[in-house]
């Protein structure tokens, strides 16, 4: 039995995992990162448009601060997020951007003086202030009051991932590439590490760790049509679920991005619309102002995606043999802008569509894009139900995003949550709770169990075909658990997924080799992915309201009275075919921003009984502190300082501060 010991085990080599690893390493802990692929190939690299942080450096960002970012995020989430976490996040995001700048990310910078931009279809001249020349610039994104999205052309995630990955190399953190955690080692209350499969040799080993962090990203690949990379199969979340004690939250909250190229599903950034691009239909009509007169193309993603599908249903899509699509028109931005700030978009259009977006419109349709749900953690990143287990980034439900994430808040979350969880894990390892208390007998038990599962797949007498079942699952999710959801279809999806789960226990494999074996990998991952799919579909079936990205045609109103709560899913034993669901209420009486209208989308929510009183209370507090600074007012409304790790306290300076 091969056992590797470490203080901190980070599962996942994307931005969140790398940043958490660097943080723990700098606190003196030994860290090992496991990654399916070389870390610079992680899906973080595909984040194009940018990262939100309220630096307020640009003309259109003037006056931005944590308060504005906070409110945008809560409204974006359709009041589903944890507001204390949102506060913690907006406070730390400027620090994360500045840290990345110091680590070499070539953020686009403000150039003082007049410049041409496109806003609402019109060419406009903006004059950037002299005082901001050379500071970090920002572009517009959906659902935000200010231009807040810091960017590096449209390769933001790439530049961030390379900088952080190189920091991990500088810290001499070993990355065990092409390895996969297939189970967590635990005793029902404490996590002790993971059973890890080497994807090249097939060997199973045990990694025993004081702290284990899951940072494996989202699970978009349970859908057929998704912008996600092939590795986004959610295995990290699934192995947490399989412990029977750790909890997944809000799995039904799945984001569909408005603009992926049709039919391949490859993302083109929200920056296209942020920079002035328009959505048009088959007759060339710009339709978003008809639906959303205020935010138009720049409403939140859930709203824009829904409007697009609605418009297609009304018969206005462009018809092709692969189905209908709409157009994204960025031709009005001009060659110079596209070649400079949207070059990845341009390359994608050239490679996959054979068109030039400087001259041609881009065929687009919404596709699955982001998993708001994931491993439920507290604000410090500690997973619920299992001490010693942590999670960050898309794999987690830290609950920054609630039922809809704003564009630019996810890459920001990766690094911010990584900063925080790195500190949390270091604290944990240094504490007495962090001591290793695991017997090798327990480790052996887990190792042998996983080996037996693989042996059964390889040498059992199963006859089911894994890729066929995978395709069926993906079809069900795309067709029945998509943008528009309905009770009867969700019930069908749940029934069919349960049947698939039973069949997946009888998979047979043609390739018998123990080492590199893509067929085997598909088989054992599918078994886990089906559990995630069931959490999504069953959670969506039970949630009889519409909130953010979760839209029920048979329950079209947001129902704060009945559903202002987070879904919690557990999977107690391997033989059940449905998750056990429970709910935790969000406490309206403690919200800094009580529920209301988002400023876009439908205006028909069923009010929570406590909302009115809290609105009045907030108004009273605000007027009582009328002359106090905004920090004092905020502190009175919803204190969060206790959640901020020592290293990230202090107020964020902005260029306007000196004059105010």
């Amino acid at each position: 039995m091969r056992i590797v010991y470490t203080d901190v085990l980070v599962v996942g080599g994307g931005l969140a995992g790398l940043r958490a690893a660097v943080g723990a390493r700098r606190r003196g802990q030994d860290v090992i990162i496991l990654s399916l692929v070389p870390p610079k190939r992680s899906h973080s690299a595909a984040a194009q448009g940018g990262m939100q942080a309220s630096l307020g450096n640009t003309f259109k960002g003037a006056g931005d601060n944590e308060d504005v970012h906070f409110e945008d995020t809560v409204r974006g989430s359709d009041w589903g997020c944890d507001q204390e976490v949102a506060r913690l996040f907006v406070h730390a995001a400027p620090q994360a951007v500045r840290e990345l700048a110091a680590w070499g990310v070539p953020w686009n910078r403000v150039k003082a003086g007049p410049r041409q931009v496109v806003m609402d279809g019109q060419h406009v001249t903006l004059t950037e202030p002299d005082a901001s020349h050379g500071l970090i610039a920002a572009r517009d994104f959906g659902g935000t009051k200010k231009w807040r999205t810091c960017y590096v052309s449209d390769g933001t995630g790439h530049a961030m991932l390379y900088a952080v990955s190189d920091q991990a190399v500088a810290e001499r953190i070993p990355v065990h590439e092409r390895t996969e955690a297939v189970a967590l080692i635990h005793d029902g209350t404490r996590c002790h590490g993971a059973i890890v499969r080497d994807l090249v040799t097939g060997e199973l080993s045990a990694y025993v760790a004081k702290a284990t962090c899951i940072a494996t990203g989202g699970f978009g690949r349970i859908y057929r049509v998704t912008s996600n990379a092939l590795i986004n199969e959610g295995i990290g979340a699934a192995i947490a679920l399989e412990t029977g004690v750790a909890t997944l939250a809000n799995m039904e909250a799945v984001q569909f991005h408005p603009t992926t190229i049709f039919p391949a599903g490859i993302l083109v950034t929200e920056g296209c619309r942020g920079d002035g691009g328009l959505l048009k239909d088959a007759s060339g009509h710009r339709f978003m102002p008809d639906y959303e007169p205020e935010k138009k193309e720049l409403a939140s993603r859930d709203v824009v995606s829904r409007r697009m599908e609605e418009h297609i249903r009304a018969g206005h899509g462009v018809k092709t043999r692969f189905g209908d699509h709409l157009w994204l028109d960025i031709t009005l931005l001009g060659a110079q802008h596209i070649n400079g700030k949207l070059r990845e978009v341009k390359e994608i259009c050239q490679h996959f569509l054979g068109i030039d977006p400087v001259k041609d419109m881009i065929p687009v349709r919404p596709a699955q894009h982001y998993s708001m749900g994931g491993i439920r953690t507290d604000a410090a990143g500690q997973a619920r139900g299992l001490a010693g287990l942590f999670a960050c980034g898309e794999a987690a439900c830290w609950d920054l995003h609630g039922f809809n994430r704003l564009g630019g808040n996810s890459v920001a979350e990766t690094v911010v949550a990584g900063m925080i969880v790195g500190e949390t894990m270091a604290d944990f390892v240094e504490s007495s709770a962090g001591e290793l208390q695991v017997s090798t007998a327990l480790v052996r038990e887990f190792l042998e169990r996983e080996q037996a599962k693989i042996d059964t797949l390889l040498h059992g007498n199963g006859t089911e075909n894994a890729s066929e079942l995978m395709r069926r699952m993906q079809d069900i999710m795309t067709e029945k658990v998509g943008i528009f959801r309905r009770g009867d279809l969700l019930q069908e999806a749940v029934d069919e997924l349960q049947a698939l789960l039973l069949r997946s226990r009888k998979i047979g494999i043609g390739t018998k080799r123990a080492g590199a074996n893509p067929e085997l990998v598909t088989a054992y991952r599918l078994q886990k992915m089906l559990k995630l799919a069931l959490c999504v579909a069953y959670g969506a079936l039970q949630r009889t309201e519409s909130r953010g990205a979760h839209f029920r045609e048979d329950h079209p109103r947001r129902d704060d009275a009945g559903w202002l709560k987070r879904t919690l899913a557990t999977w107690h034993d391997d033989f059940q075919t449905l998750p056990t669901l429970a709910y935790e209420s969000l406490d309206v009486t403690r919200m800094e921003l009580p529920p209301g209208w988002r400023g876009y989308g439908a205006k028909n929510a069923i009010e929570h009984p406590a909302t009115e009183a809290r609105v009045a209370e907030v108004a009273t507090i605000r007027s009582a502190f009328g002359h106090a600074d905004r920090y004092t007012v905020q502190q009175a409304l919803m204190p969060f300082d206790h959640l901020v790790p020592e290293a990230f306290r202090g107020r964020n300076a902005r260029p306007g501060d000196e004059t105010s």
Binding site: A46, W107, H158, V169, T201, L230, I231, R513, P518, F648
Partner: protein, 242 residues
Amino acid sequence: MSTSPRILTLRVLRSSPAEGEAPHWEDFRVEEAEGMTLFLALTEVRERLAPSLQFDFVCRAGICGSCGMLIDGKPGLACCALTRDHGSTITLAPLPVFELIGDLSVNTGKWMRGTAERLETWIHSEAQPDLTAVEPRMEPELAEAIYELDRCIECGCCVAGCGTLRMREEFVGAIGLNKIARFRLDPRDERSDEDFYDLIGDDTGVFGCMSLLGCHDVCPKGLPLQTQIAFLRRKMVAVGLK
């Protein structure tokens, strides 16, 4: 447009070093579809014909650099390669130079990590950044120039297309030289030309390049490798002559 779709032959150089399986060509036939890429074609082969076939796709969008291979003999990203730009028989082989894992899969990760450690491809700065203070300024044009070189996706195509690396396996390759050019340009990195000379001032570095520039021709991101190598060589000569 009523012509029937082409039947493509994918001629794949297969091997499984772990099992001592010698390299051999194997043909797979798939029906071409509209807009088909090698990613789609190979996925179909694996699902339908050869479940054991190894390859490395991740983003399938030309961003992550995982799927470099020899496509009709030339290094390129398979995910971006449209089958309609190729003949009806397409040969596919793993990238040379890198450690072979099996079939079309090679260990670029190990090579790239080695490069990062050897050339110390991170910002070297003594100063501890003050995260709550307004960030240090940078000229917008300089930031864009750095990004131009930062766009490398470490796919390994330049390594596979390099003549020097065939003869001198310790050569840093265009990927390494481009990294040095990137950090040299970045004022946040406090290393001097003398420091960089220590890293690449010999024939495993910038003086090993024979200027065949296969790297420049095959770079999928169109990085200005030719210019950067020439420029870097002049700068390093200046240090060497001191």
